[in-house]
Symmetry: C2
Subunit: 569 residues, 2 copies
């Protein structure tokens, strides 16, 4: 019982589903169509081609063994028939046919299918701004865009670049311009922080500071009103607050799923676009599958539909579809929303919900922030890692973890460990005891992830009452009215410079001397305890609590967090 | 209701339990005793002090903020009373007393306790060999040993070193000698491979080859019969097969738990040593807790008791004990057995069971081996990672994953993701869909861990029938009798040199040409398919299967695994 499978879309999910199916049912036929000439490229690699880290655009279209993934490759190596420059114009579900059109000649025809895969992907969101079509204005869509952008830079035509949007692509492109080519790079973002909704304002501020130190400027809370140019080429970006000169503009304001074909065929589609699928990746028509950037999946923490356009999703979903096309019952039951973005030599990453997302989803949640070394404190390559954990108060359930700093691999390793267990609704205690492989070159004996959960445990118990660096900033801003007593619990040698710079406002009692110097601590105002990373200030808080001091908080992440956040003391 | 807690043992678990308890019950009293003068040091750091990566031995005894963790520190900063050079001689459970003796003066006394913590740790296994007490022969036990070893090296007294035992400590010490000091270093191991029982022979062979390339010699399957010396100093190690010159000898033949005190007090103790504890870390006496290197815990995969002496266990168990001493009900319900050891610039790591351990535990298990890039194939810092997955055949349950290669952080990240989910009895399908944070600098769109599970899925389905590099080695050894047809499925350019070196024995048809050149492939003998890493040989196998070739296998990990394993073709 040989089948004919038609796949609409030749990037990421389409090829994966087609090839998996052909391996399971070599006797069946697969026809994959794509409206463009280029298929099966690694779109996620575009920023790294623009930066020059990937030297040739064709590397994005080759296999790991250097064969170009073109029409001939799919035919010979994979046994899949591909028709490029072929657009699907209509799905006729009743007759199980796809109407197609040759893009070059305009000739139309139909393809019969037994089963159909919709892998139409997503398209960069357009802003409908004046000037959006000027030369030098691009989105980051396909290798042709990338080649044009990189050619412009390498010819020296780009002295200044403006990126619109501070999400994944925006940040990756900002790094590509600023790091490898030394282009003066600015990012304009309409919300108040980078990676809005995905990470907390505190982590976003740390990431922003790091990028600023690497030469990227940010303009938050500004919206672009126009893109202006001369002789058809871009020269300026006009926001509601300023005008920025620009030889190149990248629009990175997110992507929207391409689901018109599905919607017109009467399949269930989200109001804002995106094809609904069940856990088998089937649309509302059991003979039609969809996945990748054009599909809507379930978020396993919120239970809500979510649009998560990532190459990794497309690959895993593609395999599931390939299996099911061949009569299998593979499942893709949802996502927890893991992500990572490289920011120069460090990274920002997370899984599950940020505090903002958790509150928006109706959870009674709290977040805690930890700064700790990523490996044994005596091991020479140690670095500070900042992690934030989001916890549901009543159930102690962990809803998400996000982090900034350290090496990308070390960060991703922690995030993946949480991601792996997140669908099992772990409590704080499960993460306290998560069994991380231990050796001093790779972890502390109490790994930073275990410590993060321990901190959450202490916060939920009420014995650790902390504020993050953003909370500290608010308190410190009011220091002139003397409403808080700022107490540095580090040794004199560490606290000295802060005492000198803030006479009368910054105080110091080393934590080991606190029991004998209690009389120096005022009982008439809140005490704010600070140490290097939050360990001693927590111990100090316990001492003050025991002595009946009423109102004591410690700064989570301590001076390390304060410095990374960018507060000048 | 203030309590008095007595803690026997001042390294790792003891201090952790003591300090956690004091934070929860600041009004209670803790007395921690230790028979030596030095407490609370990071024993796991010793190899890195010997190597010189950690410059001062005192760094192993300081906090991350550079305070020495001595008696005064515990008193002032932690509120814990410590008595060093104090040995516990007997536990009187009836009267709730610990009999103690001052090591220096010999004076005895008793300590009353409300609750007791046994944290007596483990001691290096002695081999009872002639010459074991010669100068220059050491175990790796405490910073004093380490200082002695490093002094010897740095004075130039050590030209040749012999390590006895190829487990964690043995390999770490071998690296320390060979890497940083250029000492001629040999490792003698009684079993046939390094890290016996923890990793497969194939992964062990790859790790061995890597260490040999970095100057370490191995002698497997040899047992040491004597250590010989002149003028009281070691000069030679005599095995059952050879005599090795040695200026320094490290005995790294494992450690044994110190549990005499517990056994003599009538507590439940394992036949081979080690105190039994329940999930609250209580011994058979509910007022006495034990943990760390002297305790026996449950292996969550086998359900059997296991001795797993790791600093990370001690720290997490110590916190659990501290919580429970203060009336809490924290749990430590067992381990999955995660580990990692750094081997020069790479690492060997794992979690759960190896195939050998799984079979020994009665599982009907199979293992699969994958070699794949650890990040996007176009990203410049990519490296090959070798992973092995152990699966129960009937249930598809994943029992363990081990790996070699790539950077330690990248490897540990994958192992930790599996470790996190392992207690939830994941199937192959769960790992196929494990949601790894994705960006090209850190992962492939189909992460190596997802691919590993996909391979296991295909093997269980019977559509991928593979042998590992060790299986290939056996087949290749018999090539002269022509019993197998070795078919290289790579492009001509890659296969050419192997054809030239092995005329008539090595054959080449690029996978994309296989359909049209089927007539060249013999049907009268097994066909062994090889490509770069196993992807194309799997595709080729499917083509031959479809054409009715009866007996086809492909080499998992392909030429990459063959090279790492050390087979000369």
């Amino acid at each position: 019982m040989s089948q004919h499978i038609v796949v609409i879309g030749g990037v990421a999910l389409g090829p994966k589903a087609a090839c998996r199916f052909k391996r399971l049912e070599p006797g069946s036929k697969v026809t994959m169509i794509d409206q463009s000439a280029l298929i099966s490229y690694g779109g996620c690699g575009i920023p790294y081609y623009v930066s020059g880290e990937v030297s040739e655009a064709r590397e994005l279209s080759t296999t790991s063994f250097h064969m170009v993934r073109d029409v001939e490759f799919f035919k010979e190596v994979k046994g899949v028939d591909v028709r490029t420059l072929t657009r699907a114009t209509r799905i006729d579900r009743e007759n199980k046919q796809v109407h197609i059109q040759d893009v070059t000649s305009g000739v139309t025809s139909v393809l019969d299918y037994d089963k159909l895969v919709i892998a139409t992907g997503a398209t960069p969101r357009r802003l409908n701004l004046p000037g959006e079509d000027l030369a030098g204005v691009s989105s980051v869509c396909n290798p042709d865009d990338a080649t044009r952008i990189r050619e412009g830079i390498s010819k020296g035509e780009v002295g200044k670049a403006v990126i619109i949007g501070a999400g994944f692509i925006g940040l990756e492109m900002a790094e590509a311009f600023a790091d490898m080519w030394g282009v003066e790079t600015s990012v304009v973002e309409i919300t108040g922080q980078l990676m809005p909704r995905l990470v907390s304002p505190a982590l976003a501020a740390m990431a922003r500071k790091h990028m600023e130190e690497n030469g990227v400027e940010f303009y938050f809370g500004e919206s672009v009103k126009a893109i202006e140019g001369e002789d058809g080429r871009v020269t300026r970006v006009v926001t509601d607050k300023r005008t920025l000169e620009a030889d190149a503009v990248i629009i990175a304001a997110g992507v929207v799923p391409i689901s018109d074909l599905a919607r017109d065929a009467g399949l269930a589609v989200h109001d804002r676009g995106g094809v609904f699928v069940d856990e088998f990746m089937r649309t509302s028509d059991p003979d039609i599958y969809a996945g990748g950037d054009c599909a809507i999946v379930k978020h396993l923490i919120t239970g809500q539909p979510v649009f998560l356009p990532l190459g990794s999703m497309a690959n895993r979903q593609g395999r599931v579809i390939g299996t099911n096309l061949a009569g299998g019952d593979a499942r893709f039951d949802g996502v927890v929303g893991s992500f990572v973005v490289k920011l120069f030599e460090t990274s920002l990453a997370g899984t599950g919900l940020s505090l903002e997302a958790a509150l928006a989803a109706g959870f009674d949640a709290v977040s805690v922030l930890l700064v700790q070394l990523d490996r044994a404190h005596f091991y020479p390559t140690k670095e500070l890692m900042t992690l934030e954990m989001i916890v549901e108060k009543t159930t102690r359930r962990v809803l998400g973890v996000q982090g900034f700093g350290s090496s990308g691999d070390a960060m991703v390793g922690r995030i993946n460990a949480v991601a792996a267990i997140l669908r099992h609704q772990p409590t704080v205690d499960d993460i306290s005891n998560l069994e991380m492989a231990y050796a001093p070159p790779f972890a502390s004996a109490m790994d930073v992830l275990n410590s993060l959960a321990n901190l959450a445990d202490n916060v939920l118990l009420g014995i650790n009452r902390g504020v993050g660096p953003d909370g500290f900033a608010e308190l410190w801003d009011q220091r002139d009215n003397g409403s808080c007593y700022f107490l540095d619990c580090r040794e004199e040698a560490d606290a000295g410079e802060y005492l000198a710079r803030n006479p009368g406002q910054w105080h110091n009692i080393p934590q080991g001397k606190l029991r004998e110097r209690l009389a120096e601590v005022p009982r008439d105002r809140p005490v704010v305890l600070v140490c290097n990373t939050g360990a001693r200030s927590y111990e100090a808080q316990i001492i003050l609590d025991e002595q009946g001091f009423g109102n004591v908080v410690n700064v989570q992440g301590g001076m390390a967090a304060i410095r990374k956040y960018g507060i000048d003391l």
